[in-house]
């Protein structure tokens, strides 16, 4: 058995959010990943983000593909419906789920093997369709479950645990997401919870396709010298462009920043994304400059992190499909079936 439940005992004084849930109510089963795995930190960040946003866990649908990262949805939001689909094809399942019930919050968790190789096509199309979701790639540049092969996000020239050099160019999923039309694109590091949690919160409140590329070192197969996805390498080359605060519509705004370095973006539900610019020249509202910035930094061996791009008023899939406000899975027979009288009329047109 590889399924381990967590004890349900809660400390009576654990802080509760507005819904009366403690942070532990957002947990899942015990992780079976390696000790120190970056993915577990991301799990922790998701738990914290959902707790802080007062999200009812059962209103989240969590979906994943196949791989280490895709195992993680069992480790958070135990009261949510989860779906571990097939390798690389989580985006299509999520798209269908979203089409059926627009009222839930969709969280897709994937890995670099899952999204950048077999799933690259579905990754591209879920972004261009503007499916309202948070899509997190837990990116370690390596295939952990099959013991250490390079993935498509491994940098050219980086070294495997066995010492082999990667000869292929890497795929930058954040850049791709920018190009493909995602309306919220961020990059972060699993070891930087202070940056990651607000980015996840921002993505969860974003009413469109939100993508976060999270560099998440693999302690077993990609945390050595020569790897560009190791803890040490990412810490040394991480360059944050901004920091984010998410202020939900029902929460008083308390955080203050110096004028001129803060950009506030109000979203359709009233939530405010407050961006503190660390790189004063960075403009997160411009897709093209964001792409250029990321590429320039990459050429210099740096990893740009933070909220790279935001369109606060995106069109989502339902806007494109012009669907009714009622979730499709809640329409009743009267609303769906035209009945025999309409059929008889239709018959007359066929003679």
């Amino acid at each position: 058995m590889t399924y381990l439940t967590k004890p349900k005992l809660h400390h009576p004084e654990l802080p509760k959010n507005k819904l009366g849930f403690t942070r532990r109510d957002y947990e899942g089963t015990v992780s079976t990943l390696c000790a120190g795995c970056g993915h577990d930190s991301i799990t922790g960040a998701i738990i914290q983000a959902c707790f802080e946003l007062d999200i009812a866990p059962h209103r989240v649908a969590k979906l994943s593909g196949i791989g280490c990262s895709s195992k993680t949805p069992t480790y958070f939001l135990g009261q949510s419906h989860g779906f571990n689909t097939v390798h690389g094809r989580m985006p299509s399942v999520l798209t269908g789920a979203n089409a059926a019930n627009r009222d839930l919050i969709y969280l897709g968790v994937s890995g670099d093997g899952d999204s950048a190789s077999i799933g690259l096509g579905q990754f591209a199309h879920v972004m261009r369709r503007g499916v309202n979701m948070t899509y997190i790639v837990e990116n370690n540049g390596v295939y952990g479950l099959t013991k250490g092969q390079f993935s498509a996000t491994a940098d050219r020239g980086s070294k495997s645990k066995r010492g082999a050099l990667n000869a292929d160019e890497s795929i930058d999923l954040a850049l791709l997401a920018l190009q493909l039309g995602a309306t919220y694109v961020a990059r972060s590091f699993s070891g930087d919870k202070a940056q990651l949690v607000p980015l996840i919160k921002g993505a969860l409140t974003h009413p469109g396709a939100a993508f976060i590329d999270v560099l998440s070192p693999c302690v077993a197969f990609n945390n050595h010298e020569g790897s560009t996805k190791s803890y040490d390498y990412v810490r040394e080359h991480n360059e944050a462009v901004n920091a984010l605060d998410v202020i939900t519509m029902h929460r008083e705004i308390t955080t203050q920043y110096d004028a001129g370095t803060v950009q506030e973006v109000k979203q359709h539900d009233g939530s405010v994304l407050r961006l503190r610019k660390i790189d004063a020249g960075y403009d997160a509202s411009n897709r093209i400059t964001a792409m250029n910035f990321v590429q320039e930094r990459y050429a210099r061996g740096e990893i740009a992190t933070g909220l790279l791009y935001l369109n606060a008023h995106p069109r989502d899939l339902h806007d494109s499909l012009n669907t009714v406000a009622t979730p499709l899975n809640q329409l009743n027979e009267r609303e769906l079936c035209p009945g025999n009288a309409a059929l008889e009329k239709f018959n007359t047109l066929l003679r």
Partner: protein, 617 residues
């Protein structure tokens, strides 16, 4: 010279060039005969290309109402010089050839045993029209006009049809009527009108409707409550998705907000289509995709997931000739096995075999009930012949007292009331477990869906006992399905017979005609039309009751026969395959010939010999 003489019983074939705009003129011709109360069964025979290559439209006119393809051709409208020789060769002796005589042709291009009707169509259209596109389009209407005189088709019927076609575009109405009469007048003045074959008003169509199987299936999806469709274009299924969109716009737009009570996504590929369907169905929508053979191959991994994770998904497979790309615009019933066992590991899927557009409608609607009830993929197997050809059938009907069977779903109230919930607990012993839709209850009823093995509470496990328990339950569920799927249809011979014939799907019209012919020749044979898989108990009993059974299908390997042997455990020696798989729709002529020949081997001599027992095509 012999002259084919026949009223309301002949085959006319139009040989055209793809993209020349002949399709609407040819349909106009066929429908005008139908409006005269004479049953028709037209078929598009077209190559896999966009423009410029040959295309044919074959119309069987048959007062008796047989709708299968007859074979042969009594009148060829030869409008494509590229296919002249085979087209001319196809005409029955004593038949007729209608052609464009603008350019003189050597006598050697004709046959002595057919009647030739030349009309300078190009010259007439060039004189009447200067615009090249008009010349091309009106030439088609002009030959329809000429045919109306040659076959004595009622002109007002054609005019009414043109008026219906151009309703709202009145500017186009008059030129079309003019072209029609131009052709008609020429024929009356210059050609031997009427021909030996002709049409007389009859009352044999009645309330029947005329539509494509794909369109009917799409409408069945609307009536069946499908709210989500994802698809990827592939011949011959694309028109089903397009028809669903059209029907939805008509029937499913909220009158107050103009918003859609449906969602249709043209996916990036077949993998994504079925993935979206699975996601939507997991979340409580009735969802489907439509595809053809290669699409099933691509979808197979996901289909296995839906089977194992027990998610309803409806898949329409409008079959074409395989394997691989095969003949993409030709018909076959060659995906029976690939659908029955789609995906790796031990899987079995529910299949439905509609016989005509009416049943395409009904099976489409019922497929969603079955998928929800059984929480499993359900395949509706059409084929190109039934999907992309308009066919006469009984009017579509809907019982307004009918309610959707959403299967075993635990609601908020159920969970709140403390209903026992384990996603894969077989509470009722029928192999079907209860599910919940995501977002139902804050504290109860959530579960994790996965393609890996799990216990009865949806928890991942590699415990062999739990795996076997689950796989056995899936078998139990498949047993339950036998009583839920559409039952077979039985046609008993007038006298008890040792012999039986099984058929399914679009083979029906040809089969029924063949049976009538055999009966007329005093060959007594029982028939059984299989409408679904898993096989109803009655199917196996029926086979076992007969000394010998023929199984008629349109594929090389006798795929349904294989399924019958593998799943029904019937004696292979008992079931003789009768197979037709050249890509054209099977004919009664072929079936009766094959059966008569094989009966000969069983020492069955018809009481009276007729042409019906004479042999195959």
């Amino acid at each position: 010279m012999k002259k084919i003489e026949s009223v309301n019983d002949f085959v006319i074939k139009f040989a055209n060039v793809n993209g020349s705009g002949s399709a609407s003129a040819n349909t106009l011709f066929a429908k005008s005969i139908m409006r005269m109360g004479v049953p028709i069964s037209p078929r598009n025979i077209f190559p896999s290309n966009i423009q410029g290559l040959p295309t044919w439209y074959e119309v069987r006119v048959c007062e008796e109402g047989w709708l299968g393809r007859r074979g042969g051709c009594d009148l060829m409208v030869a409008m494509n010089p590229q296919t002249w020789e085979p087209d001319v060769a196809e005409i029955e002796p004593g038949g007729y050839l209608f052609y464009d005589s603008t350019r003189p042709m050597p006598q050697s291009k004709f046959r002595d045993d057919i009647h030739v009707l030349g009309m300078p169509l190009t010259e007439i259209t060039n004189n009447a029209y200067s615009d090249p596109r008009q010349r091309q389009l009106f030439k088609n209407i002009i030959y329809v006009g000429a045919l109306s005189a040659l076959l004595e088709i009622d002109v007002p019927e054609i005019e009414k049809l043109i008026a219906e076609q151009y309703k709202g575009k009145e500017k186009l109405l008059e030129p079309n009527i003019k072209a029609l009469h131009m052709g008609r007048d020429y024929a009356l003045a210059n050609l031997p009108c009427p021909l030996g074959i002709r049409v007389r008003r009859a009352d044999r169509v009645g309330k029947k409707v005329f539509l494509e199987g794909n369109s009917a299936a799409a409408l069945g999806c609307v009536y069946g409550g499908a709210t989500f469709a994802a698809w990827y274009p592939i011949t011959p299924s694309s028109s089903m998705a397009e028809a669903f969109a059209k029907h939805c716009r008509k029937f499913r737009t909220d009158p107050e907000t103009s918003k859609n009570r449906f969602a249709i996504v043209q996916a990036e590929d077949e993998l994504s289509s079925i993935g979206m369907v699975i996601g939507a169905a997991w979340n409580g929508s009735r969802a489907f995709t439509c595809t053809s053979g290669p699409g099933i191959s691509l979808m197979s991994e996901f289909i296995g997931l839906a089977y194992f994770a027990e998610i309803p998904a409806v898949v329409f497979n409008v079959q074409r000739a395989g394997p691989s790309t095969g003949m993409p615009t030709r018909t076959q019933q060659a995906d029976v096995l690939s659908c029955a066992y789609a995906s790796h590991g031990d899987t079995k899927h529910v299949l439905l075999f509609p016989e005509d557009p009416k049943e395409c409608f009904e099976h489409a609607a019922v497929s969603f009930d079955l998928a929800d009830r059984l929480q499993t993929p359900v395949f509706v197997l059409l084929d190109l012949d039934i999907g992309m050809n308009e066919r006469l059938c009984e009017p579509l009907k809907w019982d307004d007292s009918r309610h959707y069977d959403r299967g075993k779903v635990r609601s908020y109230q159920d969970l709140e009331a403390g209903a026992r919930f384990g996603r894969y607990l077989d509470v009722d012993g029928d192999g079907i477990t209860y599910r919940t839709y995501p977002g139902t209850h804050p504290k109860r009823g959530s579960f994790f869906t996965r393609g890996t093995s799990r216990d009865r509470y949806a928890r991942y496990t590699e415990d062999g006992k739990a795996y076997v328990d689950n796989m056995q339950r899936l078998l139990r569920k498949f047993e339950t399905a036998k009583d839920l799927v559409p039952k077979p249809e039985r046609f008993d011979a007038r006298k008890p017979s040792r012999f039986g014939v099984i058929y399914y799907g679009s083979t029906s019209p040809a089969m029924r005609e063949a049976l009538a012919d055999l009966e007329a020749a005093s060959v007594e044979i029982d028939a059984l039309r299989i409408r679904s898989f898993p096989f109803h108990e009655e199917v196996i009993e029926w086979v076992n009751r007969h000394e010998h059974v023929f199984l008629v299908e349109q594929n090389r390997d006798g795929q349904l026969r294989t399924l019958l042997i593998a799943e029904g455990n019937v004696d292979p020696n008992k079931v003789t395959p009768v197979l037709h798989y050249d890509g054209t729709p099977i004919t009664a002529r072929f079936i009766r010939g094959e059966i008569a020949q094989r009966l000969g081997a069983f020492n069955v001599t018809p009481i009276k010999k007729t042409a019906a027992t004479g042999g195959g095509e």
